[in-house]
Symmetry: C3
Subunit: 327 residues, 3 copies
């Protein structure tokens, strides 16, 4: 079996993890990035495309199937291919490809969180209801580009002009520290594992605070910073994670499989708010290659999320349970 | 011998370190956190309590003594049990339990720093003296909750109403970068070791700077970030640490034993100010599991503070010097 | 052969790397820092000086030559000895000592960047031209001390009074996230390797954003924070690095050798601006001891920049190509 992925996001980590577990690797790569990926010598084989969407082409799908590839999806994978298109993708996908539709559709996501019984920021259905600091988010916003902060309906009307209201969410902005814990739910061991945590490093918000100028902040993810959380908050985080997994199984069986990430804010009352879930490996896991404090606590050794994926596939093969981890 | 601790703060790290050095582990845990700690499979045995203060009960102390447990104290341990109660605790405690009274009593702490000859922020005995930005701190403030910034007596009177002035400290607020270097003083090797450094990640101060709103910052510790310090400042940091250890030996023999943390601010003139000492393992050490740049420089391998504690106890047993590291 | 360096900056890392690769080490150290360095037991031998500039003395140079030392330069090395003096230094230096003159002379540096074809912040030759936020930088400014932000000529005239205009640069201030990727160019393997990335932790800028006071920020480097970059930006970063190396070979053969660092800002349009190059090991590499996510991806194991230097010297000796890596 070959582990494949798309040349972006966390592809290096996925391939390194695959090789560390003895798999062959394949990279679907565009022409101009090939030189970059070759520097790391992690792909045993390349399929070169002009655009990532070509991965949907019949012939490329057939090639991947013929080579026995399991594709590992990541954020760019979902973004370029589209969650809906993925449902008709014939190549075996690691994880439950149905989940990607639930994470990329904000209405479905809200239903999911409600079922999970987790604390979420208040949502304003109508701009008229905005009575505190709120963030306006777009479905499919690329890396936080286009997020806008508003304090009132008036400010909303001024700042938000060309938006498609159907694909937009207005959410209470919770002031606090951000945490993006990376989890891994294994149907093979029936366990929820904490793999690491990061903070997103965003332009220009994380640059603005250092200069005495008055500009509206933007929230484009440019990188990630490592963080650990106060240990006394971790039981709450695991309860949240368990709730999210359980609800996913109830709403779209078999639910979440493998890596996912909770996007949390912690207030100064030590209350955690969940504002989004990423239902696949997140780029923040790149800060914890080859391992994190949390994987060391649990396993006594370094395990990145990329490697954890490969370990899971390997075990599934050995135990003839591949159907439980791919779709 | 069994290494035990209380189920919070840095308990996972302490137990992982103990197991890595071949010890059995015991966790005093409350009912609702048990599920969380079981996920990590680090405790060989649990003593379940309803409240952490029950650890002071005669029967639980006897149970711990019968099982041959050495308890490793941490921040939550001191907070829940109380530094004074600890003095009458009969179970062997790793480190000098007398020191915990010195770190939790601000007046004793100031005396200690004076003896150490270190540079500290100016203290304002009377609110009338406030002539620059100052921070008002509470004895036993939980995770920075309730710290208040004031610029003048007037602002103090407005903001600080219900405080107990006896248990409060008004301290000059030094603007600069914060560093929390983690040290380990070993009476066995007669050495002061630098184990790592962190920055506290605080709500809502570390969230506020990213949004254009005007709210008073609060300083509740929610997590920790890794950091390294300019190498040319490290000799000063070690001098500080040596002074603090030496003064502790003079004031309350045998003084500090094992892990402790200096809370420093570095100004843009590269002057270091000491504003607090934690006289036991700090939660910031969790960012450097399994090891830090500094432990790698010294030992050529990964050593967390939790593991360093276990190494020290092991050596003390082998050299029949346990009395030098427990109290 | 003995690997030597000066007792500051990244000396611990350089010596640890040397020892890990089996070299003997020598440290040129001032009297008052000796105690500090001895704690780490990394120097096999010390040459004690009163001032680092004494390293230029004939007798000390002869001693270093007699002992077969290759000196590894770092930021403090260049600062204390002077890039020009280094050119007449007779002791073998790791890397191309000519490059240090190019990085410390802003005019030469600008010529270098232009040849590399990289995107740089706009430079204002005349204060009259300042039409946006700009930063005024000094040649040889120590750790960012003395950098000043201005928005207009008027503000420039007010704030910048005693500056020597000849040694000053007025540069557009790009708002965004900062990244300091650490590279290693090996003439032996003909490869550009990414070793890690950091963010500088600066006083008082990184303290000011947390308190509600209005003070002008300063940018004195006091430490470093680890960071990883969005994978889709890395091909651009490598293109930049390749351009900088190629231009260095064209302008001052053999150009850059070994470790160097790009100082980048990433805007919310995901455009990267290069604002400086450090043509030797930077202190930010200290965050990635013993290794980084990037070295793990490439090599499958931990390699610090200090160790990478020692690996390169070792290979050069084995392949009789020392002349390609020292000068």
């Amino acid at each position: 079996m070959v582990i494949g992925t798309l040349a972006s996001h966390s592809a290096l980590q996925i391939m390194r993890g695959a090789k560390d577990e003895g798999f062959k690797t394949l990279l679907v790569c565009d022409r101009k990035r090939k030189k970059f990926y070759e520097r790391f010598k992690l792909a045993d084989e390349y399929i070169i495309v002009n655009e990532f969407r070509e991965m949907l082409n019949e012939d490329i799908q057939q090639k991947l199937i013929d080579k026995g590839v399991v594709m590992v999806p990541h954020g760019s994978f979902v973004e370029y291919v589209g969650a809906k298109n993925l449902l008709e993708f014939k190549v075996p996908i690691y994880g439950n490809k149905g989940v990607l539709e639930w994470e990329s559709d904000r209405k479905k996501e809200q239903k999911w969180f409600k079922r999970a019984g987790v604390r979420v920021p208040r949502e304003f259905k109508d701009p008229k209801d905005i009575d505190r600091l709120a963030i306006v988010k777009y479905e499919g916003a690329k890396g936080g580009m286009g997020y806008v902060l508003v304090k009132s309906e008036k400010e909303f009307q001024e700042k938000v002009k060309n938006f498609d209201r159907e694909k937009m969410m207005i959410q209470e902005y919770i002031v606090g520290t951000r945490f993006y814990p990376h989890f891994f739910w294994s149907p093979l061991s029936d366990e929820n594992e904490l793999m690491g945590m990061d903070i997103r490093y965003e332009a220009n918000a994380d640059g603005l605070s250092r200069v005495p100028i008055d500009l509206p902040p933007t929230y484009v993810v440019t990188g990630n910073l490592p963080v650990v959380m106060r240990e006394s908050l971790l039981p709450d985080v695991f309860d949240l994670a368990d709730g999210v997994v359980r609800a996913s199984q109830e709403l779209f069986y078999p639910g979440l499989i493998g890596p996912y990430c909770l996007e949390l804010v912690c207030t100064d009352k030590l209350e955690l708010f969940l504002f989004e879930v990423s239902a696949r490996i997140v780029a923040g896991t790149n800060v914890w290659i080859p391992g994190s404090p949390y994987t060391h606590l649990k396993h006594g050794k370094d395990i990145s999320t990329g490697r954890r994926i490969a370990m899971e596939i390997k075990r599934a093969i050995e135990e003839h349970r591949l159907n439980q981890v791919i779709s």
